[in-house]
Structure formats: structure tokens, C-alpha cells
């Protein structure tokens, strides 16, 4: 098996602009993605540090406030390929659908990142809806 793709999504009862304010800011990932203890951002380079102390370098690929799409790549040699995509979609009723897609090679790492991302979306929902 090589590359795999995973998708997680959540409905958040907050406006797309409110959600994007958090998702579109690469410095806030450690506020809502469980297991990320800290992050530093330098231009389009980000380094996150996991709770287990593992640093993971990333390249920010897309920050598009019009489409409300954030994309990044993990550039750690653990990955042959990685692309993470977070889309914030306007549901038209004052709520948003947040879709977190993970494409990775090796496939196992897609599940490691994508599985954690599911928890991240739940935390994002808790934070944003709790702030209503």
C-alpha cells in the first residue's frame, strides 16, 4: 500500500468568518489540534511540536481567505508525500462545515494525521460553539 486519503468533517454553529479566523491563522493550530504542544511560524514554514516531543516541519501551501481553504505539507522525511487541506464551507444557515482532508504516503501516516484531525475538529467545534 502506498498513498491513502482520509477525510473528517464537522458542522460548527458559527459563521464561516468566525471559523476561518481560527483555521486560517497558522499560528493557532496548537489551540485546537490535540497533541500539538506548540508551533512556530516563519513565513510559509511552520514547525509544530507534538506532545511526545516530536518536531514536525511543515510547508504552508495555501492560505486562501476567499475560498476559506488552508493547505500544508508535512516535510518530515517520515513522509514520502503529504498534503493536508482544511476547507471551511458556508452552510448558509449561519453555520459552517469544516472538512479536514489528509493525503499521505505511507498510508499509515494518513491515518495517524487524519485520525488526530478528527479530534481536532471536535475541539474546534467545542471552542467556537462554547464562545457563542
Amino acid at each position: 500500500m502506498s498513498r491513502a486519503t482520509l477525510r473528517r468533517e464537522v458542522r460548527i454553529d458559527r459563521s464561516p468568518d468566525d471559523v476561518w479566523a481560527l483555521v486560517g491563522d497558522p499560528t493557532t493550530i496548537d489551540q485546537w489540534f490535540p497533541g500539538i504542544a506548540g508551533c512556530t511560524v516563519d513565513g510559509m514554514q511552520r514547525v509544530i511540536t507534538t506532545e511526545s516531543g516530536l518536531p514536525m516541519p511543515e510547508e504552508i501551501v495555501t492560505i486562501d481567505p476567499i475560498q476559506r481553504r488552508f493547505q500544508y505539507r508535512v516535510t518530515s522525511p517520515l513522509f514520502t508525500y503529504h498534503l493536508g487541506t482544511i476547507d471551511v464551507i458556508d452552510l448558509g444557515d449561519g453555520a459552517s462545515l469544516v472538512v479536514y482532508s489528509t493525503d499521505a504516503d505511507p498510508a499509515t501516516l494518513a491515518l495517524v494525521i487524519g485520525g488526530a484531525a478528527g479530534n481536532g475538529l471536535l475541539e474546534l467545534k467545542r471552542r467556537l460553539e462554547g464562545a457563542n
Binding site: M1, A4, R8, P34, G35, I36, T50, E51, S52, L54, M56, P106, A107, T108, L109, L111, V112, G115, A116, G118, N119
Partner: protein, 522 residues
């Protein structure tokens, strides 16, 4: 002072690996003696044939549909019901030493409590319980973890790395460079998940688990009631027991298992009569089980590889038996002999050559479902030795622990206390056991529901990646103990099949809603 409970589990051990169950390869005198003086179960089944769902059933007393751990990689919520929490509340001292696996291992984000405890070297932490209160993690006041080999964050791995770093590399690496289950071969026959391991026996995880168990028991007061889950990682692959022990069984002398058809044509004929995913996996055309090496093709399995795997597996079973003997001696030295119930079982079986396959997967046959289960009640209870042929399940363990402790089993437990003999089983209407499989990963979905009753095992397939929902398997356990002749489409047993299916669907446990998410590979 009440009865104390030593609960012993292994990982992926077949029914026929014990002498008391007719096994002839491994010598298991300690467990055989427990069986001779206690209750030996002829047909104990898991409710899932992979680790995390099965172990979650043991601790919750619930079927996988209800506790929600529907496949490996789905973590059991930290506030899930726990029999250990009930016992701890009732005054029992509680420990789990060895392999837990209620939460995924592969965890670079450090999200799962069990991994965090091991990394920090902590015994437990206070967390939420199902009843809305808080207490030690899942009810265990003492936790020390081990798994296969010496990698990862487990307490055993960290102990070995700190004290005997030269021994770490002797173990087979369970994962390959892609973090998938390793297919690399080794040993004398190049069998997958086999390696020559030069580790000193005293440092091997089996003995470490026994040593740590003894150490914890030594820390208790003589009057303490206790529940100790001693959980050996073996004989689950990799098959890399200490090289010093390999002289116990020469693999060249090991007979091929009865379930291993020696002719390739015969193997393939049997597989072709089963639902498609059996043969597809054998040919390397479909992987529907990610606990087996994805890069290994079962059709390449040789007679000698089957022999070597079985020899190594048997050696690991012998080491477990001896380790258990040491713990029982330590218990005797404390003067607790008469007051200790010992229950020995495993979480699921191993194909170990049956049908020309190794490892496990969505295959509900005796290799994976028929488990060793022995209960030696505390001698002070004055019970009579027996053999139970009625079907029972691991779901029945939690209510049994409650019964031993004099507690009423709570309503959320779905099993019933284990029968002490067949008359007890008949009187209480114990006649069926259920097993289920759900997996969805990387575009491949497989769903099985199985009932075992009246000497038959009947498996229905739900629609999935290669199944349209009409497939199934039906075997007479008396006439076809190796489950080689699928009678699902046999008109002669159609009404029996329909009756079993009706019972199967009527007996399905309630499903957790919303469904828990898959969060990690394993």
C-alpha cells in the same frame, strides 16, 4: 476479606495450544493443573477477533457494537464502563500489568492516556468514570504496560532501553519503514514476523510481566482484596522468543497442523468455497485486515514456515505457562492460595497455518474464535472441577468478576457470569455466543455477524467492498471441526440456517450512537 482475582490473558492464542485442550506441542503443566482443579471451557469465543475490540469487551462486559470499539484504532473512551472501576470502588486493589491496548499504540501526538502514562513512568492518573465520578484510569490504580518487542512508549520498552539497551535490537521490528505491519522474513525458513532473538530470557517481556506482577502483589497488605490483570503480549507475532529457549522444540519435528491442507490445490478448493475475501487475501489481491503484514502474500507460505511458526508459538506458550507458575508460587508464598480465583484466557486466536493462512482477519472460524478459557475458582469456595461445553464469551468475564467479588453485575453488562458446569448453563439458558467484525479502511469495508449455537457456527456478511450481503458461512462443529466445508448454500440445512440467522438478528446488541471514529492505525 473476600476472594482475590488473578486474571491472566495472553494475546492471540489458539485453543489447541494448551495440553488440557488436547494440544501436544507446548507443555503447559501449570494451566493444565488449573484446569484439572477448576472449570475448563470447550467453547469460549471472543466477541471480536482483533485486540482492541476484544479487550474492550473484557473490561466493559459489552459487545463491540455497544462499547463502540468496532475495529483496531478506535480508542475505548476513557470514561467507558469498567469492571475494574466497580471492583476498585468495592475496595479491591486493582492493577493491569502487561498489554492493555484499549487505546492505539501509534501515537506521535501523545493523545492517548496509556501511552502518556508509560512515557512519564506514572502508575495511573485520575480520569472520568462512566458513572460521572472520577477515579484511577479505567479503575486501575496501578498500570505497567508492555507490548510486542521493545519499541514504543510502553513501560517495558523504556525499562529495557534504560537497563539493557543492547537487547533492544534483538527483537523483530513489528513495523516496517512505512509503519505498516512488517512482512520481513527470518528464522530458518524466512517466515514472516520471525526472528532470531538473542535476548536474555530474564529480560524477555513474558518474564518482565510476571516479575512486575509479583512485585505489585508484594506491595499489598495480606488482608487486601485484589484484582490483578496480568496480560502477556505473547504468543502474538512476532515470533521471536529468546534464542536460548529454541532448543525446546525443533521445528523440523513439528507435524503440520490438521487445519493446514498440505496440497495447494486442496487449500485453494477450500478457500474458493468461502466468501471471496478469503481467496483474495490468499492470492495477495485484497487486504482487508491491517493487523497482518500487507506486503505478505499467504499463497507463498511453505510447509516449513508453518512448522517453524508453530514451534516458536509453542515455545512462547511454554514460557507463559512457566511465568504463570512463578506468579502462583509467589501468591502461595503470601499465604493467599485458598482465596485466589485464577482465570486464564486470551483475546482471540491465530490462524497459524489453517487454510494456508497466518495471523488474523475477518475469518470467523475456530482458529480465531475458539479460545482457551480456564477458571480455577478459589479453593476456599469449594467448587467441583468440570468441563463446560456450552458456548460462552469473553463478554461473560466482567459479570464473573463481579460474582466472585460478591457484587451484582450492573445492567450495562451484556454478558452473564460464566456457568460452572453444563447443568448450570442449561438451567440459565446459556446457548449462544455472538462475534462480530467491522472494518473500514482505505476504501475496503468488511462486516460479519456470527452466531454459534447448537453445534453450528453461522456467519452472515453485510454488504461491503467485495460482498453484496448474500454471502455467508455455515459449519457443523461436530461434522466439520476444521470448518472446511461451507454449507451456507446447502438446501439440506436451509431451515437450520434460517433459524440461526433469525436468532442472530434478534440477538444483536444495541449500537453505540454516534459511532466512534477510527483515530489511528492500531
Amino acid at each position: 476479606m473476600g476472594r482475590k482475582i488473578l486474571f491472566v490473558t495472553t494475546d492471540q492464542q489458539r485453543f489447541d495450544t494448551l495440553g488440557c485442550n488436547g494440544g501436544t506441542l507446548a507443555r503447559t503443566p501449570v494451566i493444565d493443573a488449573l484446569a484439572a482443579s477448576g472449570v475448563r471451557y470447550e467453547r469460549a469465543h471472543p466477541q471480536s477477533v482483533v485486540c482492541m475490540p476484544s479487550r474492550s469487551t473484557i473490561i466493559t462486559g459489552q459487545h463491540p457494537s455497544t462499547h463502540g470499539v468496532w475495529m483496531n484504532g478506535v480508542p475505548l473512551p476513557v470514561d467507558a464502563p469498567s469492571v475494574a472501576a466497580l471492583l476498585q470502588t468495592a475496595g479491591y486493589r486493582t492493577a493491569l500489568i502487561g498489554k492493555a491496548h484499549f487505546e492505539p499504540f501509534l501515537d506521535p501526538f501523545g493523545r492517548f492516556t496509556e501511552n502518556v502514562l508509560a512515557v512519564r513512568g506514572e502508575e495511573t492518573r485520575i480520569g472520568p468514570w462512566a458513572d460521572g465520578t472520577t477515579g484511577p484510569h479505567r479503575g486501575f490504580e496501578h498500570l505497567e504496560f508492555a507490548t510486542h518487542g521493545a519499541t514504543g512508549p510502553m513501560h517495558y520498552a523504556r525499562w529495557l532501553q534504560a537497563n539493557h539497551p543492547e537487547a533492544v535490537g534483538g527483537y523483530y521490528n513489528p513495523l516496517d519503514g512505512d509503519l505498516e505491519v512488517n512482512a520481513a522474513g527470518g528464522g530458518d525458513t524466512d517466515a514472516p514476523q520471525v526472528k532470531h532473538n538473542p535476548i536474555d530470557r530474564a529480560w524477555y517481556h513474558t518474564d518482565w510481566v510476571a516479575d512486575r506482577t509479583t512485585s505489585w502483589l508484594d506491595s499489598l497488605d495480606a488482608d487486601d482484596d485484589w484484582f490483578c490483570w496480568m496480560s502477556f503480549p505473547d504468543p502474538h507475532h512476532p515470533w521471536d522468543p529468546p534464542a536460548s529457549e529454541m532448543g525446546r522444540i525443533d521445528w523440523r519435528d513439528v507435524p503440520l497442523p490438521a487445519g493446514y491442507p498440505q496440497s495447494r490445490a486442496e487449500r485453494e478448493r477450500i478457500l474458493d468455497a468461502k466468501p471471496r475475501h478469503w481467496r483474495l487475501w490468499y492470492d495477495g489481491a485484497l487486504v482487508s485486515n491491517f493487523e497482518a503484514p500487507t506486503k505478505w502474500v499467504p499463497a507463498t507460505l511453505t510447509d516449513d514456515q508453518v512448522r517453524e511458526v508453530n514451534a516458536r508459538n509453542a515455545i512462547e506458550c511454554e514460557l507463559i505457562d512457566e511465568a504463570l507458575g512463578r506468579v502462583l508460587a509467589a501468591i502461595a508464598a503470601r499465604g493467599w492460595d485458598d482465596d485466589v480465583d485464577v482465570i486464564f484466557t486470551t483475546d482471540h486466536g491465530e490462524l497459524q497455518g489453517d487454510f494456508g493462512l497466518l495471523f488474523k482477519g475477518p475469518y470467523h472460524v475456530d482458529a480465531l474464535m475458539r479460545l482457551p478459557l480456564v477458571w480455577r475458582p478459589a479453593p476456599a469456595a469449594g467448587s467441583t472441577p468440570s468441563v463446560v461445553t456450552a458456548p460462552v464469551g469473553l463478554v461473560d468475564l466482567a459479570p464473573t468478576f463481579c460474582d466472585i467479588a460478591g457484587l451484582e453485575a450492573p445492567e450495562w453488562m451484556q454478558g452473564t457470569r460464566l456457568p460452572v458446569d453444563d447443568a448450570d448453563a442449561e438451567a440459565r439458558g446459556i446457548e449462544r455466543v455472538l462475534t462480530q467484525w467491522d472494518s473500514e479502511l482505505f476504501g475496503v469495508a468488511v462486516y460479519l455477524r456470527t452466531i454459534t449455537r447448537d453445534g453450528w457456527v453461522c456467519t452472515a456478511y453485510l454488504p461491503g467492498h467485495v460482498h453484496d450481503g448474500t454471502e455467508g458461512e455455515l459449519y457443523s462443529l461436530a461434522d466439520d471441526p476444521l470448518q472446511q466445508a461451507n454449507r451456507w448454500d446447502d438446501p439440506a440445512v436451509r431451515s437450520l440456517r434460517d433459524d440461526l440467522l433469525a436468532d442472530l438478528w434478534d440477538s444483536q446488541p444495541p449500537e453505540r450512537d454516534p459511532r466512534l471514529q477510527l483515530e489511528a492505525p492500531v
